[in-house]
């Protein structure tokens, strides 16, 4: 992430001239009485990793579904790769790839067949060569001829992401890419995402894991009760709280502290430190 901050922002003027990869303005969505999104605004710069952070039920998935044309917003506009999601859904679909919350692989087919299927559906030439290349890139070559139902959670997620990369879409949505994965698999997914962004792909990822946002994202937006309550770089978010508090040891506030302070739920701050190690995070209860 730190490297990216250096090479990723060569000079401010050109970046501002570039149209953002994703622009979300005033998006609202209700399901019956439930007002899930209450006016969401943010931009995602081309080639960056943008993390949408929020608890369960904050509306992250709803937003991703709107941006990937699976759902229509009640109000507001969103453009993806310059195309309005409501007016030009076909063009949006040409520019994106969605990796949903549940690994969307065909379990009856083998890993290779899954990749070939997507390559064919994207009307690409040499679907078999594309499949072999991706199997190699995601260390699935040996498992390529096995049914996806025999894969571990991490392998399945890797296959899922590999399927999303076919056709090199400029924008990728990852909805909770590491939920339910073991620590090793999480780190693998993180490496994959970093590599992707390094090649210029814009990544919008949602997560409820604070360390994930901290690890990956160039910018982090906190979605809470249907609106973005904070949006900035990790450093900017950290600056929202006093930089250091003097205790027996001096420590920087973690992103988790910032998050909980912003969200207004403090009863679990004492677990913040333990959660810094990868992996053992999921047991926490998320604030409502």
């Amino acid at each position: 992430m730190r490297e990216r901050a250096e090479n990723g922002e060569p000079d401010m003027t050109t970046n501002q001239a570039l149209e953002p990869a994703i622009r979300v303005q005033g998006i609202e969505k209700s399901f019956k009485d439930l007002h899930v999104l209450r006016g969401v605004d943010f931009d995602v710069r081309t080639g960056s990793i943008f993390a949408l952070l929020g608890s369960n039920g904050a509306g992250k998935t709803t937003l991703v579904r709107i941006l990937s044309t699976l759902l229509k917003a009640d109000a507001g506009t969103a453009t993806v790769h310059g195309f309005d999601v409501a007016a030009k859904p076909g063009d949006v679909r040409e520019s994106i790839s969605l990796t949903g919350q549940f690994a969307a692989v065909d379990e009856v087919l083998t890993g290779r067949e899954n990749l070939v299927l997507v390559a064919k559906l994207r009307h690409l030439k040499n679907p078999r060569a594309i499949a072999d290349d991706l199997l190699a890139r995601f260390s699935l070559t040996e498992a390529g001829n096995r049914k996806a139902s025999t894969y571990s959670g991490g392998m399945r997620r890797r296959l899922d992401i590999a399927m999303s990369l076919i056709g090199n879409p400029p924008i990728i949505f990852l909805d909770e890419p590491t939920t339910g994965l073991d620590p090793q698999a999480r780190i693998e997914v993180w490496q994959t995402v970093k590599k992707l962004a390094g090649q210029g792909t814009t990544v919008l990822l949602t997560t409820q894991y604070l360390d994930e946002a901290e690890q990956l994202a160039d910018r982090i937006a906190i979605l809470h009760k249907g609106t973005i309550i904070q949006n900035g770089t990790l450093a900017e978010l950290k600056r929202l709280l006093p930089p250091a508090k003097v205790e027996y040891v001096e420590k920087q506030p973690s992103l988790e502290d910032v998050f909980l302070a912003l969200v207004g739920d403090t009863d679990e701050t004492d677990t913040a430190d333990d959660d810094r190690s990868y992996g053992t995070v999921p047991a926490r209860k998320e604030p409502r």
């Binding site: 990937s68 044309t69 699976l70 229509k72 076909g90 679909r93 040409e94 994106i96 790839s97 969605l98 949903g100 919350q101 549940f102 690994a103 969307a104 692989v105 065909d106 379990e107 009856v108 087919l109 067949e113 299927l117 997507v118 064919k120 559906l121 994207r122 009307h123 049914k147 399927m163």
Partner: protein, 254 residues
């Protein structure tokens, strides 16, 4: 995008056909129940049923058995569609630049192929059990046409079930009444042997006209008005089910 409808449907159809090839038990299960019914009726009950014709009993009841085969086969169509929706692969397809109707049509065509195979197996067993017909090629084609229409009509009903089901059981439970319908028709016994209200229902429900038509085609007899009633029912069910399924699908993907 619409230029890809055929290509995309073909790709997705070969995908779900592969599902069936990998679990041929779905075809075998579909064929086993009708075959068991056929054995039961021919060798146990059949002798006691007076059909009022000289035809052997297996010739008499095969049309009804074929409809039962299809009615139980389409439960798997709803099941497969439901699993796609559950597993997230449906959303993946919907977020990709592919023709949107392809996803449904692939399931419909797969249903047609799977059911024709099951029907073929059942006819094969019936031939072993003594089913005979002097039907011409044209009559066979007419039978095939009616069975295809029947499969398509029920498949779109299955699409409604698959799209709107909340559980796996719900996705396939809708087929039970359909499987039962042939029993209250002319499929196994003449309707005039039934008490008044039952006979009225049996004579006026779609299965009877379809069964009578297929039976007449196999027996090289005139199909009479039954064929028109049957076609009206089949096209009617097909159009209504198709319209409902597409409306539900639209709501689902918008």
């Amino acid at each position: 995008m619409t230029t890809h409808v055929l290509g995309d449907t073909g790709i997705l159809t070969s995908r779900s056909l592969r599902h069936i090839l990998r679990s041929p038990d779905t075809i075998i299960t579909t064929a086993v129940t009708p075959i068991a019914l056929m054995l039961l009726f021919v060798y146990v009950f059949g002798g006691a049923i007076n059909t009022g014709s000289d035809e052997s009993y297996i010739n008499y009841m095969l049309p009804g058995i074929l409809l039962i085969t299809i009615a139980s086969g389409i439960a798997y169509t709803a099941y497969r569609l439901f699993l796609d929706l559950q597993g997230g692969i449906f959303e993946r397809f919907q977020s990709m630049p592919i023709a949107r109707s392809s996803v449904l049509w692939a399931h419909v065509l797969t249903s047609l192929a799977a059911n024709l195979v099951s029907v073929g197996i059942v006819i094969g067993v019936a031939l072993i059990m003594g089913f005979r017909t002097g039907a011409s090629v044209a009559a066979w084609l007419a039978v095939a046409g009616i069975l295809i229409l029947f499969t398509l009509a029920l498949t779109w009903v299955a699409v409604i079930a698959g799209l709107s089901a909340k559980t796996v059981d719900g996705a396939s439970a809708f087929s039970y009444p359909l499987i039962f319908l042939p029993f209250i028709s002319s499929a196994f016994a003449p309707t005039d042997s039934m008490p008044g209200p039952v006979a009225w229902f049996a004579e006026n429900q779609p299965v009877t006209s379809i069964v009578n038509t297929i039976r007449a085609l196999f027996a090289q007899q005139p199909v009479g008005s039954d064929v028109w009633i049957a076609l009206a029912w089949l096209l009617g069910i097909l159009v209504v089910a198709y319209a409902f399924a597409i409306a539900i699908y639209r709501r689902k993907i918008s």
